[in-house]
């Protein structure tokens, strides 16, 4: 599928989709969105790029192996989960909230870090699955 139109479009689509996925991630707590959807969207951005420019180019663009995102995301999610246990002796996964809203991001809380963890895990898992399936095809 190396058409000129798709290749040109994917160049602009990739950063746009990535920014949009971050937007979806951040609005997730009270509105539709969140880490899972955002992560899928970011993964789709890379898959689209791979469609247009070939797998090798996308891998070169990514530089890191997407599989490493899985443990990083899991560790982030675990940390945000046990932070209330360690810090204030509340049960696992209790929400800790920063009192004042931060510009752009909104209310900052442990739930956001959990969502960021999910975002990374989803990107890692999806890209690993798709890359390994299309490599061996």
């Amino acid at each position: 599928m190396k058409t000129l139109i798709l290749r040109t479009a994917s160049k602009y689509m990739l950063p746009l989709l990535l920014v949009f996925s971050v937007f979806i991630l951040l609005r997730g707590h009270y509105l539709p969105g969140g880490g899972f959807v955002g992560g899928l969207m970011a993964a789709i951005a890379f898959v689209l790029h791979a469609f247009a420019n070939g797998l090798e180019n996308t891998k070169g663009l990514l530089r890191i192996d997407p599989a490493i995102l899985m443990p990083i995301g899991l560790a982030l999610a675990l940390l945000s989960g046990i932070a209330p246990v360690l810090a204030v002796d509340l049960p696992f996964m209790s929400g800790l909230w920063w009192p004042d809203p931060v510009p752009i991001v909104g209310n900052l809380g442990s739930a956001l870090f959990f969502d960021i963890g999910v975002y990374f895990v989803v990107i890692g898992v999806t890209l690993t699955i798709i890359f390994s399936i299309s490599e061996s095809a």
Binding site: A67, M70, L78, P84, V85, D89, P91, F92, M93, G95
Partner: protein, 502 residues
């Protein structure tokens, strides 16, 4: 910090698996981290168990959402002892796999997945929410798929197809049952369901729902007409994987059955008859299946099915004595089955085959080791005073009180057939004068291994055998524990009060 003690084994397993993913390529590091981590996990589980033993049932609400709206994690004596047994079996298998698995398998992430599996097991035991139980079950089966297919040999892949299909079907049936239950009650917390399900007027629908749960968990625990995936797949992976499967995976199904049918659903005469019929047929068909097999691993696979029957019988009778027997048998079975699959792995390593017809001479070659292997083998039969003997007394006396002679006959028949199978195995593998087997190229024979590898293979078996011996000779303490568990199971209010913090 003491408030959150229920979650510590869970959180530690999760931490361990994440740490192991970071060490993906460093195999020797993974081995060390896994074994040391399993030791720490054992310590945490003992701590949790001691805490629950002294202070009674303990619960926490994840996310600090009040029950029944949030997900509760509940450690009663039953859950805490199963977490402890998971930690014991996990430690043994972690050490055994360090010695027995080829590095090609370890390179594809055996250890992280193994610890995710243990995480799923702990979660399934501790959770107090039906949907959360489903999620833990899925974690368990995804990890077991990966462990089952690591290596990708033909027999493994064929076994995995059957294992995957039937376990996925079980999950869908389980999910359907949850959907119906949620539609009926609008709640998913088990403690809340315990009171709400009893108030539903449409009893037929409740009964159908209970049967859906029975079928879903029944496939996972390999009861009579639903077990065909088990003997098709359990002998295909390496013995270390079979050990954790045979020891713990079917037992989670039994745990879930006991939990659901004591806490949420009432056992009415119809379900009681179904359960007792299933118990009878499971004992019989599992034993007959094992009788005709000629491969050590396949014999043990069928024996896994056979002995599920005892626990189903105990659940079906539903008296305090019967439940105590079922729980005791569950404890004994986890340790012995894990141990037996490891034993079959070592036998395979010594002789290079698992075929009964080709094996032989083991007693003449290695008398000490044969003596060690005799402990789990004859504990399984239940020769007094070894561990399999005591729970059967409880089960038989419970059946005697109910005047249910069929079940007594089934229990005796099951033990008798197990005895025949084990005696046959013993005479074929240990006493028979074997034939000279041609030496296989590139096969890691036991006597060619380096000493530390030999230790890694034998120490876990010794460890589990010692605990089995303790269960046999110190049966009184285990019996006390089982009786306390069955009292707690029959008195739902303890569980409900613990969840609602009354």
């Amino acid at each position: 910090m003491m408030q959150q003690i229920v979650m510590y084994p869970l959180l530690f397993q999760l931490f361990l698996s994440i740490a192991l993913i970071f060490l993906w390529k460093k195999i020797s590091w993974q081995k060390a981290v896994s074994i040391i981590g399993s030791f720490i996990n054992l310590g945490l589980s003992i701590w949790l168990f001691a805490h629950v033993w002294e202070n009674g049932t303990k619960s926490i609400q994840a996310g600090n959402w009040e029950a029944p709206f949030g997900i509760s994690f509940v450690a009663d004596a039953f859950a805490a002892s199963l977490v402890l047994l998971t930690a014991i079996a996990g430690l043994a298998v972690s050490m055994f796999s360090a010695g027995s698995l080829r590095s090609a398998r370890l390179k594809f992430g055996f250890y992280p997945v193994f610890h995710f599996l243990l995480l799923g097991l702990c979660g399934a035991f501790l959770t107090g929410d039906v949907f959360n139980l489903y999620v833990w079950f899925e974690i368990i089966i995804i990890c077991s798929f990966v462990l089952l297919t690591l290596g990708g040999e033909r027999s493994q892949l064929e076994g995995a197809i059957k294992y995957f299909t039937l376990n996925f079907l079980a999950s869908v049936i389980f999910l359907t049952a949850i959907a119906v239950l949620y539609g009926l009650t609008g709640s998913l917390s088990m403690a809340d369901l315990a009171t709400k399900v009893a108030e539903i007027e449409n009893r037929t629908l409740v009964q159908v729902n209970a049967l859906l749960f029975l079928v879903g968990f029944g496939i996972k625990s390999a009861i009579f007409p639903l077990y065909f995936w088990l003997p098709a797949s359990y002998h295909t992976p390496p013995p270390a994987v079979s050990a954790i499967f045979g020891g713990l995976l079917t037992k989670v199904g039994i745990y879930a059955l006991i939990r659901m049918f004591t806490l949420v659903f009432e056992i009415d005469p119809f379900i009681q008859n179904v359960l007792l019929g299933i118990a009878f047929l499971t004992l019989f068909s599992g034993a007959i299946g094992a009788l005709v097999q000629n491969n050590v691993m396949k014999i043990f696979s069928y024996l896994v099915i056979c002995h599920i029957g005892y626990m189903i019988a105990g659940l079906g009778m539903m008296t305090e004595v019967a439940l105590a027997g079922a729980v005791f048998y569950l404890f004994h079975d986890i340790l012995v089955k894990t141990n037996l699959f490891m034993v079959s792995g070592v036998i395979n390593r010594i002789k290079g085959t698992g075929d009964l017809k080709k094996l032989g001479d083991l007693y003449a070659d290695r008398p000490l080791m044969s003596f060690l292997f005799a402990i789990p083998l004859f504990s399984l039969v239940g020769i007094p005073p070894l561990s399999g003997f005591w729970p059967k007394i409880s089960l038989i006396s419970a059946a005697w009180d109910l005047n249910n002679y069929w079940i007594i006959a089934a229990i005796l028949l099951g033990s008798f057939l197990t005895l025949i199978i084990i005696v046959k195995l013993w005479s074929e593998v240990f006493w028979k004068t074997g034939q000279k087997l041609p030496e296989q190229q590139n096969f890691p024979y036991f006597n060619k291994l380096r000493n530390y590898k030999k230790t890694q293979l034998i120490v876990p078996i010794v460890f589990l055998s010692l605990i089995t011996l303790y269960i046999g000779f110190g049966a009184e303490s285990i019996q006390n524990l089982s009786v306390r568990i069955s009292e707690e199971l029959l008195n739902k209010q303890i569980y409900i009060d613990a969840v609602f913090n009354k």
